[in-house]
Symmetry: C2
Subunit: 341 residues, 2 copies
Amino acid sequence: MKREARAAVPLDEFGIIRRFFRPLAGEGALDLNDDAAHLTVPPGFDLVVTADTIASGVHFLPEDPPESVACKALRVNLSDLAAKGAEAIGYVLSIALSQEIDGGWLGAFAQGLRADQDAFGISLLGGDTISVRHAPVISITALGRVPSGDMVRRSGGAPGDALYVTGAIGGATAGLAVATSEPGAWEGLAGLVRERLLRRYRVPEPRIGLAPVLRAHASAAMDVSDGLVGDCDKLAEASGVSAVIEADLVPIEPGLAALAEDDAMLARLITGGDDYEILAAVPSESEEAFRAAAEGAGIAVTRIGRLVAGRGAAKVRRSGKPLALGRRSYAHGAGRGSSHG
Amino acid sequence: MKREARAAVPLDEFGIIRRFFRPLAGEGALDLNDDAAHLTVPPGFDLVVTADTIASGVHFLPEDPPESVACKALRVNLSDLAAKGAEAIGYVLSIALSQEIDGGWLGAFAQGLRADQDAFGISLLGGDTISVRHAPVISITALGRVPSGDMVRRSGGAPGDALYVTGAIGGATAGLAVATSEPGAWEGLAGLVRERLLRRYRVPEPRIGLAPVLRAHASAAMDVSDGLVGDCDKLAEASGVSAVIEADLVPIEPGLAALAEDDAMLARLITGGDDYEILAAVPSESEEAFRAAAEGAGIAVTRIGRLVAGRGAAKVRRSGKPLALGRRSYAHGAGRGSSHG
């Protein structure tokens, strides 16, 4: 990014809001010119609320393009809504800006939000802009709606339910390694593969099309943000069961298959963060309908294991033998980050 | 605060959530054990959404008691909801923790939230906890409800409407001066006065009882967070009018009346931040009913001026003459903070 080349923009509070955020405001947001926004949840629907915060140097890199930072901040929330079977309505943006953030950065950040608002049919409802001395922190609270009582939870799984995951796993882990020029196997990857991996890290693809499929056919679901294995543990724990994951079945990001033949690398990929795929438990009698509906929605789903009676961490096997895992989840930055609701 | 004396608590992500935040979770928050919360907005009500972020060293002082930091983070949002005529439902907490935050701090912070949840009849819906390297940042998005179409806006005022303010102005400005040991007139204040001023800065009193009064009788309203004069400018601008403020009429915080005889001090108090009172425009035919209803709700309201035809900044007079103002609004910290929706 050629940040130096951008025109300097004075960053007073009203200038920021008027210039960058007001154009993003949707119906009920009153042009961000009031203390609050209002909206109507249609009769027969519940409101679904989720929040995710990302910080520079923790969830994104200071040199990441501002457009992709905006997309990531928004999409990690849209991923949560999709996993709950909810359709997004809008979002609230709270942003703590630091001195290094200039008008050029903000303009590009707002462009990223605009593009995703258009792509996902949502709008900005409001928020807050403050100044801090250090790395920027971006908090988004997203609102969605779901037919009353139909929110898909983590806790509905039962022994025997099949475990499915969308898309592919490990691309973001590899993308972060590429972005940080981590030495090792990544260095041998082709340029186009590296580019796609970078994008997987920077710009998740929320599986919003799966929301109605989950409502219709899943017993439990969550988004995979902190590592497939650890997130599977969480779903199983919330459902009062355990799980078995067949690591051979996990759909690994295209381009990484050769690397993943190594056990340690496979373990790293299935415990790495930022996949933003959806993990779903599906009762056996619903599997066929689930797969057909997912295909109809254009979303690849792969059966990777099942829930089993008992408690405790999921068993992870490769070729029928336990796969050694150094960790089960990915801890962002200093390792204290976790979404809690 | 005797932080050293507190027991050390390991600060892993799940420990924080389980120990400090899960006990605060309300209905629909699924024990903060899911990706999202769900709630039902009753038929006939609109959802009202507001967000405010506070940062250490900007909106609160690093040495402020954690309980009061929690109360301030929550109450600045409740103040917004009240000003919109809305009743609070619950809140989403996104907190970026820094290394200096230990288990003792978090425990006291959670106690502050608990006390206010009980006081205001709300609960935690969800959120996110992340780790950052520097000063903590606390973002709260609060949800409220209002009878459909009844949200009180900034934009409903008309020429001739009387301007009322709740409570008293300037206490938080003086409290910040006391907290930071600013030299000057504050030093002569009695100990009990200084204590009350400190509390005014640290723990705002959201005027939640005024919400139904505003819905019934106000043409426009907002909460006063960035300075009475500048906030009055904003309400007038949103309403397409101007305003006149009689500074003699502004209810000054008890204990500061003598200081406020000085024009410069009065100007400072009515342009200082963190009052979290409510400014309301009331049509003349509704004034009597508004005052009676406010009295019935136990909330002092004082007429301080009126809206007038025209555009531009409010005229501020004292004893019939223009009062010199060095600023119109208070800029927190580096001066880039502003709520925008």
